[in-house]
Point group: C2
Chain length 322, copies 2
Amino acid sequence: MQNFAVDWADIEAAAQRIQPWVFCTSVTELNEFPGNSALSVRVKCENQQRGFAFKARGACNAVMKLDPEQAARGVVTHSSGNHAAALAWAAQQRGIAAHIVMPQNSAGIKLNAVRRLGVEPILCGPRGEDRALAAQRVQEQTGAVFIHPFDHPDVIAGQGTVAVEILRQAPDLDTLIVPVGGGGLLAGTLLAVQSMRPDVKVYAAEPQLADDAYRSFRSGHIEPVLRTDSIADGLRTSVGDLTFPIIQRYVEDILCVSEQCIQESVTTVARAARLIAEPSGVVSLAALQEHAHIFAGRRVVAILSGGNLDRMDLLPAELQWV
Amino acid sequence: MQNFAVDWADIEAAAQRIQPWVFCTSVTELNEFPGNSALSVRVKCENQQRGFAFKARGACNAVMKLDPEQAARGVVTHSSGNHAAALAWAAQQRGIAAHIVMPQNSAGIKLNAVRRLGVEPILCGPRGEDRALAAQRVQEQTGAVFIHPFDHPDVIAGQGTVAVEILRQAPDLDTLIVPVGGGGLLAGTLLAVQSMRPDVKVYAAEPQLADDAYRSFRSGHIEPVLRTDSIADGLRTSVGDLTFPIIQRYVEDILCVSEQCIQESVTTVARAARLIAEPSGVVSLAALQEHAHIFAGRRVVAILSGGNLDRMDLLPAELQWV
């Protein structure tokens, strides 16, 4: 394996380190999946993870790996999403301070999640540079360790433990589909699969409206996100300096999906597996549907990466029984 | 083991027989469960089973066990619930005829489930004796084999396979909670646990408004259901001649739960595990909440027996993230 920010030993160590704190989530088979010709479709239920997203893994690995001197200084991050609550939670488990910078226009449900963990979010302006600046200021004032939401070796290694579990739980799979935002989950998955089962093909799924990873993969350098209006709010970031080289090297392809198919996939997974997942969490299933020809006859596991649905109206009005 | 209608060998054989058709459903850990003092709470996700209820197991075992001569005559049952669709599905899998007698006032969603499986329900009057008579008439006309929803050895053996899986998936458990209606799932569970892990305590959960099993267990003979208005519509039947002796011999206790707690448990399991379950399916979790003192410090698995929720308004209006 080429030299990346993270290697297989880091992922193995992360799996050991976080095991007392996170769930080994289920791999669940779907009842019939409309218009699908894959041989079997299973989902890895990270929507049932602690905090209801895979983010608990990376945050926990980063926090538990701190040496005592670092830990005493606490941790800091900026995020308006699942990583904010995940880091606050991981810090609480270790009993250290967490400073969470969040845009003042974050959804109330997200601010409250952090507050319920005993951390008062530090509010900042809505732009990316506002966030980074506010986090830097906290870091300078407190000496806290900055834990980036995805472009951090310990975060990538932590997210890679999802794939370690999948390969044990579904040894017959031949294809994995993974949502990509900043690329932490995707990069971790690619490294784990490359070490354990290089024959398994890994596809990334991304909203058309936030197709930076798709464009970056094709152009060979990191492209910016051009729009921030995809319903998959967790996937609106561009890939990182650490995650992109791993993605570029190992991903089979990056598949873009429409907003409509993302919304429908929230409904579909409720119907087909009685599971509640968020739009960012179901883009993998949306890719399975919109790019069905790629997956014909394959044994697919799609990562359902999060369950923090704040649009309950996307659930079906009525469930069918068969 | 005393002589019952079903023994351990029947359950083992059922597990083998139905394995190609049904899912080995997940055992999933819950995020914090309000007001609960059990050491760990996991749910067995039969709400994700084929047809979204454990009924697929018993129906499948009964249908696949028919000899060719019996199979050629087809099967018949009466049911307004999950067993109706389950038997139609199992018959479809084997390619034989199914005659499903349903009360004319059954919910549209339940009638449609059977229709979607290619079977036109035979409508009858709403009373219990109407159903039995209609089913008997079909049986006389067609020679079809009658498969009772719960009081049938092959159905009980099939339902027992849920526990076989649980004991393998969660070997550290010490307590199981099982919904009881007619008692097929409960009796099968008790026989499997008695053979595999007699140290595990099995509790049954029942709506207060349909407390016939509770009263029967105390009086020593089968008591009738007095009301049919519990929201847990799958549990409104009294226990059967085959299921009751097994329940009486092995169940630890039968715990009654309020209608309000059943409704709240639908909300709770959506919040705590992002799972959609029906009222009859969550009485096990309701018992865990309303009888918390019994389960303090225990390692509990609660069977989530079905996911055919037709009251989507019971889902929470908003999900909390932690």
